[in-house]
């Protein structure tokens, strides 16, 4: 029964082994951290987009909610940063629960409404009248609990959690029921699937991953502003990485992120417009010629992608 999980677990173990060893050979920890961050976000987005077809353009809303949830817990309630990260995840789930009604909207309408929701959340957090709680637009300072190594391994933990979730989705009946909802809600519910419940759970899990990631990022960065953790670039990058890699598998988003984020790091940072132009063109080409991403090339050749 558990044997079907083996390929997915193999991929996860390989990633973990690499990320545990690499810091000893490669000193740019910050690059590795950001890579893990986007890997986790890509898997988190995969949970909702890959398995239910809802494209969350406002995914960064959960990321920001996580960063702020954790920061508020750490600065106001004096909770240890590690538990702060978990609280960040929970904060994102709470936002997710508030936004559940958006799942009634279909396709592009959902995408835009979700984008609007993330922007609204950003403006609420950044509003100076909430300065006592969120520090308003003036930013969060966590330098007193700054710990690069601890937050690095916390992020690795979040990544492992996200990958395990997707592995579960990929191989379980629950994942199958989500794929069914994505194909046809009526047919799925006539097979006995509780559509509203299943997609809400997927939505909240996806939010949880983004919240944890945002919280770990906040801890690692130590000083951040609303505009940092609610930057639309977070959504955009994650979506592009996932689209490129391919959805619905554990490996697809990983491959997409590893390739594109490395590329971003080497060409994007010195001349960001080149990268923007590149991924803009890449999206157009993908939509027209390879709408299911790189992984679909293998799948068309009947190769199993974990």
């Amino acid at each position: 029964m558990l044997r079907r999980y083996f390929p997915s677990l193999g991929v996860i173990l390989a990633i973990v082994a690499i990320l545990l060893c690499l810091p000893h050979f490669y000193s740019n920890q910050s690059f590795l951290f950001n890579m893990m961050l986007y890997l986790a976000l890509a898997e988190g987005l995969n949970i909702i987009y890959g398995f239910t077809g809802y494209l969350p353009f406002g995914y960064v809303g959960f990321f920001g909610a996580g960063a702020y949830g954790a920061a508020i817990a750490i600065t106001l309630l004096h909770i240890s940063p590690f538990f702060g990260v978990i609280i960040g995840g929970i904060a994102a789930v709470l936002i997710g629960i508030i936004l559940i009604p958006l799942l009634r909207l279909s396709g592009a309408y959902f995408a835009i409404a979700n984008l609007a929701a993330s922007q609204a959340l950003y403006f609420v957090v950044a509003n100076p009248s909430l300065e006592k709680i969120t520090q308003g637009p003036y930013g969060i300072d966590l330098s007193s609990v700054y710990n690069a190594d601890a937050s690095y391994y916390t992020m690795l933990g979040v990544l492992v959690f996200a990958m395990l979730l997707v592995a579960y989705m990929r191989n379980s009946n629950f994942g199958l029921s989500l794929l069914a909802i994505k194909e046809d809600q009526v047919t799925a519910s006539l097979a006995g699937v509780n559509v509203v419940k299943a997609r809400s759970i997927a939505w909240m899990l996806s939010a949880f991953v983004a919240g944890l990631s945002g919280a770990a990022f906040g801890w690692y960065t130590a000083v951040f502003y609303p505009s940092t953790v609610f930057s639309l670039d977070v959504s955009v990058f994650t979506i592009v990485f996932v689209l490129f890699g391919g959805i619905g598998t554990v490996a697809g988003p990983l491959v997409g992120t590893l390739i594109l984020y490395s590329m971003y790091n080497f060409i994007g940072i010195s001349t960001p417009q080149y990268f923007q132009l590149f991924y803009g063109l890449l999206i157009i080409v993908l939509v027209l010629f390879l709408p299911d991403g790189v992984a679909s090339i293998l799948q068309k050749g009947k190769v199993y992608v974990p």
């Binding site: 909207l105 592009a108 922007q119 132009l277 803009g280 157009i284 939509v287």
Partner: protein, 293 residues
């Protein structure tokens, strides 16, 4: 009281302009059932065209209008035939077009940064003369009046096109039901291509005058404008071009009131409006009757 009157009048002028901002997005949606996610970037392109012609050749923004229309018809046709028919044949045109136009928007932004850098650009308000004009004892810059008149003219044109031309009649048929229109012998692709170009041209016209209402232009202003435009057309009612003006007016007056009385919360308004309308009144404020027409 003075402030109240000013707020209302300013809100109406602001709103008419924002109707124009949403108009191009709405007619494209009406005919093609696609959301042009690069809409805000086309507005940005219009403003950069105006800026460039003003700086280089001293063009008055009004003179840029015909140039913009010509440019976007020339660009729009090949773009339509290169992208859209292929999309319509795919298994999920709505979602794929959404993502595709997102890619287009990123390309536009990157190219403009290459060409112009990422600095803010603006055309001075006094390009139409430095005199102000008075409405009910309130003084407004002349540039606002010109902008409002241009926006009204654009709505007038669309009304005339839809109601009084043969092609407009066919366009309405496509808006009502694309498949039936195709069966009844209308060249749906040609109509769509023309309307697509029209939508782009209208967006660029909004861009030309955006300096006077929105403020300075910069290459990355697109996505925010797209969201605001979408809020406006959802408010008005999706797929009903003339309804856009209602959405614009509500948005304009509301944002002016927010700025006057709750200024620090003003920027949250379009997003909250958008979500509220989508969840509670998804058919838009004009409702079904206007939509099925």
């Amino acid at each position: 009281m003075n402030l109240f009157a000013y707020t209302i009048i300013a809100g109406i002028m602001y709103g008419v302009f924002f109707g124009l901002v949403g108009l191009g997005l709405n007619i494209i949606f009406g005919v093609m059932r696609m959301i042009n996610l690069a809409h805000g970037d086309v507005i940005m392109l219009g403003s950069f065209l105006a800026y460039w012609l003003y700086e280089l050749l001293g063009f008055n923004p009004l003179l840029v209008v015909p140039v913009a229309v010509a440019v976007f018809f020339l660009v729009g046709f090949p773009l339509y035939y290169a992208l859209v028919p292929r999309l319509l044949r795919s298994k999920d045109p709505e979602m794929l077009s959404f993502i595709l136009f997102f890619g287009v928007s990123q390309v536009i932004e990157a190219v403009i940064i290459f060409a112009f850098g990422n600095n803010q650009r603006s055309i001075p308000f006094n390009v139409f003369g430095s005199a102000g004009f008075d409405i009910f004892g309130q003084r407004f810059p002349i540039a606002w009046l010109v902008t409002t008149l241009v926006a009204l003219a654009a709505f007038g044109f669309i009304y005339w096109y839809l109601q009084h031309t043969r092609m407009g009649y066919a366009t309405r048929a496509v808006m009502a039901n694309r498949d039936e229109a195709m069966i009844s012998g209308i060249d749906v692709n040609r109509i769509s291509a023309v309307v697509f170009c029209m939508g782009l041209a209208l967006a660029s016209i909004a861009g030309i005058f955006s300096f006077f209402i929105i403020g300075a232009s910069y290459p990355s202003m697109g996505p925010e404008l797209t969201t605001v435009s979408f809020a406006i057309i959802v408010l008005g009612s999706l797929g009903n071009p003339l309804g856009t003006i209602l959405g614009g007016l509500i948005y304009g007056v509301a944002i002016m009131f927010m700025q006057s009385y709750f200024s620090s919360w003003a920027n949250i308004l379009p997003y909250v409006l958008l979500i509220a309308v989508m969840l509670f009144k998804p058919e838009g404020l004009i409702g079904k009757a206007a939509r099925s027409a």
